[in-house]
């Protein structure tokens, strides 16, 4: 079991990462692209946080008076914690751009926007 788990989360991260990457490249819908980008982001978060877990470790909150306690690595958790909040803020900015594009072009499909741009030139 432990043998299997040793690299398991890496595989999950790789699958999620490439799923997100494929979505960003292949989907024409802009909202779908942003969702795919979010999937990509969570894959990166999972990669970092997986590294913070230590076998038999407990959450990195000090237990007073107890000796010989293994704590999980707090550093990746701190970094990813702030990344989530920054991620939602930047997602909101991206979504705002989508609505502005919709106002301008009346569509959020990438191929149609490119088509409209061709006609304008």
């Amino acid at each position: 079991m432990v043998e299997l788990l040793a690299k398991y989360n890496y595989w999950i991260v790789i699958i999620l990462l490439t799923t997100g990457l494929y979505g960003v490249m292949a989907r024409q819908n802009l909202i779908k692209k942003i969702i795919a980008l979010n999937v990509f982001q969570t894959a990166v978060l999972l990669f970092y946080v997986s590294m913070s877990k230590i076998e038999g470790g407990t959450a990195p909150v000090l237990i007073k008076g107890a000796k010989q306690i293994i704590y999980d690595n707090p550093l990746p958790q701190v970094l990813m914690l702030t990344a989530i909040v920054v991620g939602i803020s930047t997602t909101a900015v991206a979504l705002t751009f989508v609505t502005l594009i919709y106002r301008e072009y009346g569509t959020i499909e990438e191929d149609q926007i490119l088509e409209l741009n061709k006609h304008n030139d």
Binding site: W11, L16, L17, L21, V49, M51, P60, V85, T91, A92
Partner: protein, 345 residues
Amino acid sequence: MIDVAIPLFLVVCGIAVLLVKDLMSSIMIFSVYSLLIAIEWVRLNAIDVAITEAAVGAGISTVLFMIILSRTKSVEECKKSISIPALLVAVGVAGVLLYGSVDLPNLRDPNIAPSTHVSPYYLENAYKQTGQENAVAAILASYRGYDTLGETTVVATAAFCLILLLRGRRHTNKDLKKYEDTSINKCTVKGVGIKPTKTSPPGSEQDKDIIKKTVTKFLMPFIQLFGLYVIVHGELGPGGGFQGGVVLGVSIIVYSLVFGFKEAQQRMSVKAKDLLVSSGVLIYGGIGVLALFFGGNYLQYNVLLPDPKFASIIGILGIEIGVGITVAAVMITLFYETVRIDANG
């Protein structure tokens, strides 16, 4: 076993999100995905991350996507379902990463590089140097205080971007009035419980909303109290400014969703939250400058008061509150500004 099952579900959800044609379903699956990953954070003992993810991923981001969807189109018009070049690139990247992962250190091993360099120092000295029992809060606010200041500023900047992009279009008084009328009830998404109240016959509206209004009224103080508790409790247990801030922000968003934008304005006006966005960053930066006046370095908390340990606790509490104010106000901004977008405008 659950450590195997949850990531598998994640993969299933992640692929389903991209395959579903209806954007509404796609967003709902993504919400489930976020909830699952929050459980995975708990399994990995990253409790601070889990609190944030549950509020942000499953809560705010779902609401945001739904608002934007109601302002645009809800069906994806994709002709061909599979793009061969993109698939080739994705498979190629997966292959390269898989090849690379062979050399990555085994997970859960205490002797791997990420756990042996700087983290043991933090764990050993966090309580002695900063008075924080929660190592995550100590690193966030003290060891990596500059980082966090930068991130708080980024979050505030995103809110300013939204305000500039969306509010700059309001020129005339007539437009202003139009926006004030736009409550969430107007944003109707096909198949969602939120229906336009204006078209329903008189009397039935009250009956339809009474359950969610009563439940919201009942829950609101508890949600907000929990948010405040999480901000202040960062010193002793899981919690801090980012986590508590998003919970507080969610409480106002829920209120606004149930009672409408106009009613929510009386609790938290647009002007007040605009002020709060920048004042939180100001509190953070101000404490840093205060440390300079007392002869220390920027953000060196232990010079603020005669007792260095107590000063450190107070200083960190101060910046956690600053972060909490900014993050809560930014989350409210994201909701307020997008919900005021006029679909026809």
